[in-house]
Amino acid sequence: MSKYLLKRLLLILPTFLGISLITYSMVRLAPGDYTSLRAGMQGELKTTAAAKQAMEEERRLYGLDKPIITGYFEWLGRMVVLDFGTSRKDGRPVSARIAESLPITLALNIISMVLVYIISIPAGIVSALKKDSLYDRVSSVALFVLYSLPSFWVGLLLLMVLSGGEFLNLFPLGGIVSDGAADYPWYRYLGDVTWHLVLPVVTLTYGGFAFLARYMRANLLEVISQQYIVTARAKGLGRSRVVFIHAFRNSLVPLVTLMASILPGLLGGSVIVESIFSIPGMGLLAFEAILSRDIPVIMAIASISAMLTLMGILVADIMYSVVDPRIRLEAKA
């Protein structure tokens, strides 16, 4: 086991280098760079020699005149000591910008993931056990309807109906805390944040139920039809014992695969939800950085996500052996 782990950990390094090199090259090869995008349609900057020189000097300030491979290794050299550089947009350290955006994104994602899991897994189990019943049909239609509603529409509708001045006024119109909340006692502060998070969390979660519930249902149905379940029932074990002890655990194996995407998923925000609810999170940060070719920010977010994805895959592989002892890691390695 430890030999396997070591091997896998060592493999992460070259994989990461590959990912970051490809990302860096893609950003550099994409049309437009930070300087030329800022100039935009300003024709003056493209005609006279003096103007072109000013542009070249500015590119040099950002190292955009260097070959891609040189630029990449310079970036890597700083990254190794955890220096992600400064953002082009505001001249502040990239780490500070991420530190501002990350907590709220993390909070939103953790809450919505937990909600999705605790609602869809039981829903899937009940559907599987009552296969083809009215409940099964109604719930799957309902889940697919939810799944197919676009989140920008739902988000806006929720805001208009529940927090606008015209219908109900139950929730705030976006943001994460009230204006004067910094002076609140902690419990009131927490309540205030929760109140702000209700609508964004609903918008983030409703679409996720269908996938996981259907996934759970299919897995459980497959397991229930296995011979050892039939045997267990034949031996006279109670229905709930069969389902929850024998079948449930075995139906979790495919769900573990999903775990691999959880870690990086926690970090990624949603541009749509963040812009509707005026939440300055990771989604908007990354989106704006990509549009403006803010290389230090793009690279920092990309490398953190790459690292978390690699870790997530490793964790998922280890989890396999936990939920299913038949899977032995040594053999695979």
């Binding site: 300003q42 003056e44 900057l45 947009k89 005026s278 549009l291």
Partner: protein, 544 residues
């Protein structure tokens, strides 16, 4: 805030850098004029105005930033030597007391007002102006979009503590404006040996204007407070809070709930969502114009747009009244030329070509285009009339415009495909002149120099991306740039207008209005030719 932005940028001489940004705004119409952040209570103080900001600026350094949102905020914090009057649009003193221009038009001497204090108490002197100029010129300063305006400024010298002299290397009618609107930053704060581009002063501006920077809650709001050291009459509004809200629909809801006082509207919001009596009781609706227009550009380097009859025929096929009604609910004015429609430079006697498909067909026939093989598509020498229009994928206006155009042209035997590009790719296509047709908009200054857009020297790399070339226009533009007499310049612009009307390098579309709504908590809200002036607004006493 769309409203005061063009104005401010004009003043600081960054006209075209704003121009660049304004196009972005037009093109990314979906994003234009949106933004704010959630708050539950309204305001802590009735003297505070809450203004919607659709996007957050990176910083507020007036030298390195060319973002429209930053200029809109900076106009309350920073000042320059000269300003433009809100009503007459004439150049008036701001930090300068008086100025003299040498007979050859190359030397500009400004005499500063004495006793002007930066908001931290240090006095403003000629050294600050010389320092600002040197920073702009410094190759290590990332301000290429601004630098380009000061290429022809040879030197800036301090004559004494309150006098500064600018020397221009060639004659130019806008020289006074460019020298007089130089962004001025406090030397005692920035000149500390650190990197100017990342200087913390960029996010904690210190200026001489009526407001001072108070607080920046990243991603949420930027707060300004009245400057107690302001030399002139203090504005009545205590605080200006810019709330960042990305989504325009949410911003309008916030306005209705009293969480915002000033929001720029989109045409559909103006027509459909703000027309109740209740809304009218709570808010002013202000529709006003600043220099801008949208257009469809035809690449004159390529067949068949190298023939002006074809370009004119296409203009006759664009149903501008219909499009304006359908896409903008009739909000806007159809223009026939490049000058600002509400200025004397615009020749109102030149009417836009009418929508007239029959006339278009005739013109195309003259140019040799007819449907010889009866397949419904015009052809000439065996080639079909088929082309592609390039649009920015973020622009809803361009998307809808091109869809309507495609259908209309099809009815007249012309095949058009739509190519959508991300903004960065779009700009690259434009720079490479790799397009048949394109739709965009320009935002202009109050005093326009047609050189960038229409002189033939700008065809290969500049803003004349459609390749318009006309010897008379070239000569006119060259004389225009060294003509100091305003009346003579206006006559020249009228002539240029006529040439453009005949040549149709663009199908000129619309001058789009600013649509702004402001809470009736404020009195004295009125529209000047230059736009809105927050500094004259009063807080209505009876309210709240």
């Amino acid at each position: 805030m769309d409203t005061s932005t063009p104005v401010q940028v004009n003043e600081s001489g960054v006209r075209v850098s704003f121009k660049g940004f304004r196009i972005l705004l037009l093109v990314i119409a979906a994003l234009a004029g949106a933004g704010s952040c959630g708050s539950t209570a309204g305001r802590d103080n009735p003297g505070t105005i809450l203004i919607h900001l659709g996007a957050e600026p990176g910083h507020l350094n007036p030298i390195t930033s060319n973002e429209a949102v930053a200029s809109a905020i900076n106009e309350h914090i920073y000042e320059s030597l000269l300003d433009r009057d809100y009503d007459s649009l004439k150049i008036v003193p701001q930090l300068a007391d008086s100025w003299t221009i040498s007979a050859d038009g190359l030397t500009y001497v400004f005499r500063l007002k004495q006793g002007v204090l930066w908001s931290d108490g240090v006095e403003l002197t000629a050294d600050d102006i010389v320092y600002s100029y040197n920073v702009i010129k410094d190759p290590k300063t990332a301000c290429a979009p601004l630098k380009v305006y000061y290429i022809d400024v040879e030197s800036v010298r301090r004559l004494d503590r309150y006098t500064v002299e600018f020397r221009y290397s060639r004659q130019y009618f806008r020289a006074l404006e460019i020298c007089g609107t130089i962004p001025i930053v406090p030397r005692h704060i920035f000149d500390d040996g650190t990197d100017f581009n990342a200087h913390p002063g960029g996010r904690h501006p210190v200026g001489t204007g009526p407001y001072i920077f108070e607080k920046w809650d990243t991603g949420k709001r930027i707060t300004l407070a009245r400057n107690p050291r302001f030399r002139d009459r203090a504005p009545e509004i205590d605080r200006i809070v810019y709330k960042i809200v990305q989504e325009p629909n949410v911003a309008l809801q916030m306005l209705k709930k009293g969480e915002l006082d000033l929001v720029s509207l989109r045409p559909i919001q103006w027509v459909r969502q703000t027309n109740s009596e209740k809304f009218d009781r709570g808010f002013y609706k202000l529709e006003y114009y600043t220099p801008n227009y949208s257009y469809i550009g035809w690449n004159a380097r390529r067949e068949p747009f190298n023939d002006r009859r074809v370009r004119r025929a296409l203009t006759h096929m664009v149903n501008r009244e219909g499009i304006l009604e359908k896409l903008n609910f009739g909000l806007g004015k159809i223009v026939s030329g490049t000058a600002y429609i509400n200025s004397r430079a615009y020749d109102a006697s030149i009417k836009p070509w009418p929508y007239d498909p029959a006339r278009a067909r005739e013109l195309l026939k003259e140019a040799g285009w007819s449907d010889t093989d009866n397949d419904g598509i015009l052809d000439k020498d065996g080639k079909k009339f088929s082309f592609k229009i390039a649009i920015s994928s973020a622009s809803k206006f361009a998307e809808r415009l091109s869809t309507i155009l495609k259908e209309d042209l099809m009815k007249n035997g012309i095949e058009m495909d739509i190519l959508r590009f991300e903004w960065a790719v779009f700009v690259q296509k434009l720079d490479a002149r790799d397009f048949d047709a394109v739709t965009l908009g320009w935002s202009l200054g109050f005093e326009e120099d047609p050189y960038q857009l229409w002189h033939s020297s700008q065809i290969t790399q500049g803003s004349n991306h459609c390749g318009f070339s006309n010897p008379e226009a070239d000569a006119l533009i060259e004389r225009f740039r060294v003509e100091y007499d305003e009346e003579a310049r206006i006559r020249m612009l009228h002539r240029l207008h006529a040439i453009l009307h005949e040549e149709q390098p663009y199908t000129f579309l619309f001058c789009n209005p600013n649509l702004v709504t402001v809470s009736r908590r404020f009195d004295g809200v009125r529209v000047h030719p230059k736009g809105l002036n927050l500094h004259e607004w009063k807080v209505r006493k009876t309210h709240e």
